[in-house]
Symmetry: C2
Subunit: 245 residues, 2 copies
């Protein structure tokens, strides 16, 4: 892991860009972090495109820091400045075609779009976790927050260092993910935008039902895909405070 | 409204029992209430049986007081020490018979059980509201919290003094209530116990979908009908603080 830039934000948060095996990422630590004991960590997921998503990512990172947590994100395979994937581009073109034709998006397209992404992204998140946890200012426990839900589900199943996950039920769910969801046992906080124009509400409810976790909360709100109300962000933050502090 | 008893709880909350047209009720005000400006009010609903429900009601009242709100409850028609209703008793017996036989509870039984209760209880809550708002220590705005959901829906439609409602999707929903739900426009916080053994989850989701409110949140958790986690109680309290403070 190489740090490539460093800046102090106005609220004292230290923002450091890094690369890890050519994957770009950003680490945020609270202003007080170096002076005190190692802090818990939240991995911040997103739909791809760290620069495009930066305003929302840094907002979530500031909230994490205010709650006493470090947070970090990495670019998704095939997104942002990373080399594009021909199969993903093809799947995305097929998806666009189906949506423009007003057709139901087939499970086959969803599988082609999401499953290779999960296969590639999950080990990258795990390598990032190795690197971050080796820093003296970062300890555990570790939470995973948001992003492509199939990645969050896989991480929750395969990565025992993740103690709690806040998931955003706003992306396509491959069939295999419903099966994996039964193996998830960590506490979950699932956010659903009830009238999300690009999301299958019933699939989100089925996925919530499938999770094996004894402690899981569904927090559904109005306002479309990008209209998550501030109160829902606050509720997610409190979830992490309960489980990581 | 006649106050019939008064006691100061250990956290300074003033608890006063009252009767209003022979309906028994309880009013709780924060320890600081008489000394300061009039406080907002939360009407605390329940499934009937104020004495049986007292431990949970006083817990909710203490939370209201800690947040700076007065709160009050009244006995439901036909419950507790109030004269029983022959039609309600008959409907309850038919309900029990259906449940014991493992049958689906018919819409006709639900209508007979709930609709007369709504017709009678709602004007009683409104008369209670008149009386409570005439007390110098109680102002507005007013919230309604929990209890038989069809009563909460009707109150949200017909009583303009109610500014926000926290509803518990854990009771039978008459067909007419789904139609009324479309007329509700106040902010709503709906609590659902996902694996509530005595509750129809799909009916709860359909009701949430039907509400006309632009601002509505569904908060679903594990734990059965009486297993609402503390975090869900906290989330409901924060909802009222956002809308009534």
């Amino acid at each position: 892991m190489q740090f490539t830039s460093e800046q102090r934000l106005d609220d004292g948060v230290l923002e450091r860009e890094f690369t890890l095996d050519e994957i770009p990422g950003i680490l945020w630590t609270p202003g007080s972090a170096s002076a005190s004991a190692p802090v818990p960590l939240i991995l911040i997921g997103h739909p791809g495109g760290v620069h495009r998503m930066y305003p929302r990512l840094v907002g979530r990172a500031r909230q994490c820091a205010a709650d006493g947590f470090a947070s970090a994100t990495i670019e998704l395979p095939g997104s942002g400045d990373r080399p594009p994937s021909a199969t993903a581009e093809q799947a995305r073109a097929d998806l666009r075609r189906a949506l423009e034709a007003g057709e139901r998006v087939s499970e086959e397209i969803i599988d082609r779009l999401i499953l290779p992404l999960v296969e590639k992204a999950v080990p990258e998140w795990q390598a990032t976790l190795d690197a971050l946890l080796s820093l003296p200012e970062i300890g555990g426990p570790v939470g995973y927050s948001g992003g492509v839900i199939a990645i969050g589900v896989r991480l929750a199943v395969v990565e025992p260092r993740i103690a709690a996950a806040g998931l955003f039920a706003g992306s396509f769910v491959p069939r295999a993910t419903f099966e994996e969801a039964r193996q998830v046992t960590i506490p979950l906080h699932v956010l659903l935008q009830w009238d999300d124009e690009g999301n299958d509400r019933q699939a989100a409810l089925d996925l919530f039902d499938a999770f094996g976790s004894k402690e899981k909360t569904l927090n559904a709100n109005m306002g479309g895909h990008t209209g998550v109300p501030a109160s829902a962000g606050d509720a997610a933050a409190r979830f992490f405070t309960r489980h990581l502090s």
